[in-house]
């Protein structure tokens, strides 16, 4: 029973840690399925986190903060699009540039606005997303098995967690069941086919990166106004890259990407709890190993040792009609 509790609690933490990954991985998916590599997830997440915290602080409302985050990440997506889609620049370079730029800019603006070494001031309750108790959670709280699962694991998260998990089937539906999704996937596979079908390639790709921006904005806002209570310099600490890895690991598809995010989130939650803890019989587990696992697993996947990850055909290639 004790162990069951522990597992539930670990899974509970997994949901919290995987939420930003899920949103960002879906963001990456929208962009990359349309043919635009999005290494800028990290930087966009950071930008979103900063805007959300700063605006939520001033307005005392997390929703306005969320909107600000999304506005910021859409702007960054448009910048990425401007470089890669309009000017046919190198997508990897543009992504790296945005990451570096945002790492500096968020801190710089943070110092200018709040003079707290790049942090934003701590947000009080009203300015953050608060946990939501699902209906009936209190009632079943003490029922064995179901109680912990419903009360501890499923209930009591903030709205963004639920949004992230609902975003996965939603993304799947959009991607595979709508005209927009069909065109988006087509433009990432063969933009020529889309063009000759009378659909604008550039517009289609812009729409895709905008979707990407919306999602990654939420992920950033989650970090600073839901999971945390302020923005900190470089607070994403590589989560954007982990999300990218999860997307690759999920072979650019929503549900497998969700699974990868949960796995990576679980590893993160486990690593956090294992720090400095001596496990009976095993001794101290090197946390660094657990922390490196997502990257190692992704490399192994990319190497084709556990199935092949086949990227969209036109990924990374700007659409050039006339040489």
């Amino acid at each position: 029973m004790e162990n069951f509790e522990l597992v539930i609690l670990l899974l509970d933490a997994t949901l919290r840690t995987s939420t930003p990954l899920i949103l960002a991985a879906l963001a990456g998916m929208f962009s990359e399925r349309s043919g635009t590599i999005n290494l800028a997830l990290e930087g966009m997440m950071l930008g979103g986190a900063f805007s959300a915290a700063a605006v939520a602080f001033y307005m005392d409302d997390p929703w306005i903060g969320l909107l600000a985050a999304i506005a910021t990440t859409i702007a960054l997506s448009l910048l990425h699009g401007f470089a890669c889609i309009t000017h046919k620049g190198n997508q990897v370079v543009s992504g790296m540039a945005i990451n570096i730029l945002m790492s500096g800019l968020t801190a710089l603006v943070g110092i200018a606005l709040f003079a707290q070494g790049g942090k934003t001031p701590a947000l009080d309750k009203a300015a953050r997303f608060q946990p939501i108790t699902l209906p009936g959670a209190e009632a079943v709280k003490d029922v064995p098995i179901i109680g912990p699962i419903y009360f501890e694991l499923l209930s009591g998260h903030n709205i963004l967690v639920y949004i992230a998990f609902l975003a996965v089937p939603a993304a799947w539906w959009v991607m595979y069941r709508t005209r927009f999704g069909l065109r988006l996937r087509a433009v990432g596979e063969n933009p020529g086919a889309v063009d000759t079908a009378g659909i604008g390639v550039v517009a289609m790709r812009y729409r895709a990166v905008i979707c990407s921006g919306v999602l990654v904005g939420m992920s950033g806002a989650y970090l600073s106004t839901a999971q945390g209570a302020s923005f900190l310099q470089d607070m994403t600490a590589g989560k954007g890259y982990i999300a990218l890895a999860a997307m690759v690991f999920g072979k650019w598809r929503p549900f497998p990407a969700l699974a990868a995010c949960l796995l990576f989130g679980f590893l993160d939650a486990a690593a956090t709890r294992l720090q400095g803890v001596i496990l009976p019989g095993i001794g101290e587990v090197p946390v660094q190993l657990v922390q490196a696992l997502p990257y190692v697993l992704t490399v192994i996947l990319l190497a084709g040792f556990i199935g092949r990850a086949i990227p969209p055909k036109a990924l990374g290639r700007p659409y050039v009609k006339e040489r």
Partner: protein, 372 residues
Amino acid sequence: MSTTVQLPRWIDVGALPLLNLLLALAVSGLVVLAIGENPVEVVEILLYGAFGYEEAWGYTLYYTTNFVFTGLAFAVAFHCGLFNIGAEGQAYVGGLGVTLAALYLDFLPFPIMLVIGMLAAMVFGAAWAYIPAYLQARRGSHVVITTIMFNFIASSLMVYLLVNVLRPDGSMTPESEQIAENLRLPFIHDMAAALGIEMASSPLNLSFVYAIVASVMVWLFIWHTRWGYAIRTVGSNAVAATYAGLEPGRYIIIAMMISGALASFMALNEVMGVQHRLLIDFTAGYGFVGIAVALMGRNHPFGIFLAALLFGMLYQGGAELSFEIPTISNDMVVVIQGLVILFTGAMEHMFRPRVTKIYTAWRLRRDAQEAA
């Protein structure tokens, strides 16, 4: 018959990149304005901090040294058509090589250690680059993603080693022991003093000379040897390379390993030259600066040297800046770095069509006048 003419070299590799750079700097100026400071003052402080006094020069060139290495590292891989985002990790692991050699072979005399230290860094850096290279060459895994992953893996590995293995007993900071005196690269000011020249003390050390030598060697290698030729062929047209009997995979691996070795020279500067011990995160993002440096320098050693100098100046001047204007932290330099990559890298084509048009119009008019 033709409506466009080829741009002359001075525009192609000179004016256009300069235009992009100026745009990046102009936008940086706007950022400074936006946060309520005076860009002119900022530039003054930057320049003073970078060149205003003797010691500053030393610091500027010390940073330049790092950027030359990481810039060259990026460029060599780039000539083979590869985006090596992993200089950071390669340098980090290269630092491990130097440290291990230093800690376990400290009985060897100085000149031998100079060579051994260099070799150790190169071997470790190249080995760390080898895995992504192999995966790209033989299994088609995209080197961009794998090198990013390898940066993180290197970081975890090094934390583990520093915390659990290399940290001396009783020490709280996760850093290795100091390396022996005979393993340290001599400082330039000490070398100058030995020649009777007085110089201000700075971290500038022998590895700056390595940087210059490495630049020349990379230039010779890329444009004046058949291996460089092979790498460029693979980079521009892998099918043509196969046709020419140059197996692309092989040169991908070679280029990446050279790239990793060059990145690891940065560790030489930091570990053997300045810090004299292995620090956590001593790479401090210098690997990423290398991308900006290489893109700005058009992947040519000479351009890289100039770009590295610019960034060395920004780094050193930026440190001064954060001392002088508290609202402008070192992050300003990071912003400039991001903007430079954005404008000279990702948006390098932005002005080309327009400049080509203007130049063509000018040429056609001139030709017409000459004909008349």
